[in-house]
Amino acid sequence: MNEQALVAMRRESRFRLIGAFILTLACLATFYGFGWDTEWHADVGPDTFWTEPHALIYSGMGGAGFISLFMVMATTRKFRRKVEGVDENTTTPFIGGHAPMGFFFAGFGSLSVFIGGCYDLWWHEIYGFDVTLFSPPHFGLIFGGLLYGVGGAYVYASEVNRARVHGLKLYERLATLGFILQIGIPLSTSMVFMVVCLDEVPQLAGLSTYTMLGAVVVPLGLMLAASFIRRTGAVTLTGLCVLTLKWTGMSYSIWSVKWLANELQLPYKEDALFLPLVTGFMLEYIVVVAIIMDVILYLGEKFGWSRRTAVSLAGAVGMFTSSLIDTDWIRKFTLYLNTSKPEQTETILAAIQQGFWLTAAVSAVIAAIVAWLGWRIGIAFRYTDR
C-alpha cells in the first residue's frame, strides 16, 4: 500500500472510530439511564413517562440511531464520490447504501428500539402503567438496545482487523479497547434478563433460572471476546469491564435517584429498597469467572488440548464456580420475591435450596455448550473488515 493510500486509510479509520466512540457513549447513556430508571420507579416514582431517567435512556437510543444513520449516509456519499479508502473492499453494501456493517446493524437496533417504544406506548394505553419489567414491548426495547451494542462491537472489530493488516498499532489498540467495552455493555445489559427471572420465573423444577440464564449470557459474551482477541488476559479484561460497569452503574443509580428526589422534593416510598435493582443484581464474581476461564484457555494452549475442549471446559468450570461462590443468592431472591411474590417466597427459596447442586451442574453443562457457541460467533468478528 502506498503512502497516499495509507494516509487515506488512516483518515477513514479515524472517522469510523469517532463514530463508534459516539455510539459507545450512546450505549452507556442507555445503560446508566436504565439503572437510574428502575431504581427511580422502585424507590421514588412517580410512574409517568415524562421522567429524567427516561430522558437519559431515550437520548442514548436516539443518539445511537442518529450516529448510525449519519455514518451510513456519510460513508455512502464518500463511496459514491469514490473517496480513496472507501470502496467495495472497505464497505458493506445494503439496500443501496455502502457503509461498515456494524453501523447498519446498530441502525437496525435503534430502529427496533424506536418501533418498540411506539409499541410500548400503545401497550401502556391498553394494559396500564409499568409495574412489570417483563412485557412484550419491554423485551423488544431491551433486545433492540443489545443489538446496537453488538453493532458497535462489529465496527470496532472491523477497525482492529484493518489496523492489524496495515500495522497501525495505536488504532488497533484503541479499537480493541472499544471492542471490549462494546462487548461489556451488551453483556451487562443482557444480565437484566437474569433479574427478570428473579421477578417472573425464579425456578423451573427446583432449578434457579437466574443461575442458569447467567450460564448462558456470561460465557457467551466472555468467550466471544476471547475468540476475537486471542490473547491471554482478554477474558479477564472483559470481566473487569463488566465489573466496572456494575460498580459505576450502582453508584450512579444511588446518587442520581437521591439527587433527583431532592431536586423535585419528593420523598422516598415507604418500601424503598435503596438498592440498584439492575446493576446491583449483576454477577459480582464475573472477574473470578473470567480469570478461571483465562487460565484454562492458557493451559489448553500450553498443553495442546483441542480448542473445543479448552473452551467448553473454561465455560463449564467458570460457571460452576460462579454458582458455588454466589452465596448472596438468597438475599437477591428474597428481595425480589418479597416484592413480586411475597406469599410464595419461602416455598420458592426452599425449592431452589434443594436443587442447589443440580442447578450448579446443569449450569456447567449449559455453559460448556454456550462457551463454544460464543467462541464460534467470535470467529465472525475476525472475518469482519468492512
Binding site: 412484550p136 423485551f139 443489538l147 420523598p267 416510598k269 411475597p342
Partner: protein, 183 residues
C-alpha cells in the same frame, strides 16, 4: 437556570394531581368510581381509576381511611375466582410520594377474569379488623391476545436470526477462501 425551570415545571406536573382529600380530588386523580367499605371500626374510601377492571390491566386504587392513615398499617389480599389453582396475592398498602391522605395501591394486572375476593386488613388505634370489597368482578382481558403481543414484541429477534443466517454464509465463504487461517 433552564434546568431549574424544567424541574419546577416537572414538580408542578407531578404534584398538581396529588393534592388533598380523595373526595375532593376524584377528578384530578382520574378516579372514575369510589366504593366505601367498612373494615371493622374503620371506614375506608376506595377510588378506582377504572371500574370494572379488565384482566391483565394494572390496577391503581387510592385507599383512604376517612380519619386518615397515620398510625395505621394495612394489607390487602386478592383471592382468585373459585376453580383457579393459583394462590392469593397479598401486599402491604403503603403511602405514595406526594400523596399524604391515601395509600396508593398499584398492582400488576390480575391474570384471570371472574369474581375475585378483595380483603383489606387494617391494624390501627381502634384494633385490627378485616373488611371485604363485595362483588369485585374482573372482565375479560383487553387488547390483542397475549401470545400475539409476544409474537410482535420479539421482532428484533427475527432481524437477529436473519443476520445470523447471513453471517453464517458470509463467514463460511471467507473461511473457505483463506483455508481457515483466522479460525
Amino acid at each position: 437556570m433552564l434546568l431549574r425551570m424544567l424541574i419546577s415545571i416537572a414538580i408542578c406536573l407531578v404534584l398538581l394531581p396529588a393534592g388533598t382529600g380523595l373526595a375532593h380530588d376524584v377528578k384530578a386523580r382520574g378516579i372514575v368510581y369510589v366504593q366505601t367499605i367498612q373494615v371493622g371500626p374503620y371506614t375506608v374510601d376506595m377510588g378506582f381509576n377504572e371500574y370494572p377492571i379488565p384482566a391483565k390491566k394494572s390496577l391503581q386504587v387510592f385507599v383512604e381511611p376517612i380519619d386518615g392513615y397515620p398510625g395505621k398499617k394495612a394489607t390487602y389480599r386478592l383471592i382468585p375466582p373459585a376453580g383457579v389453582a393459583e394462590k392469593f396475592y397479598q401486599r402491604n398498602l403503603l403511602p405514595y410520594p406526594g400523596i399524604d391522605d391515601a395509600w396508593v395501591l398499584q398492582h400488576p394486572g390480575l391474570p384471570y377474569e371472574g369474581q375475585w375476593t378483595w380483603e383489606i386488613e387494617i391494624d390501627g388505634p381502634k384494633g385490627k379488623a378485616t373488611g371485604r370489597l363485595p362483588q369485585f368482578k374482573v372482565l375479560p382481558p383487553p387488547g390483542i391476545p397475549y401470545w400475539t403481543g409476544w409474537v410482535i414484541g420479539i421482532f428484533p429477534l427475527y432481524g437477529l436470526l436473519w443476520f445470523a443466517y447471513y453471517e453464517r454464509k458470509r463467514v463460511k465463504r471467507l473461511i473457505e477462501q483463506d483455508n481457515g487461517a483466522r479460525v
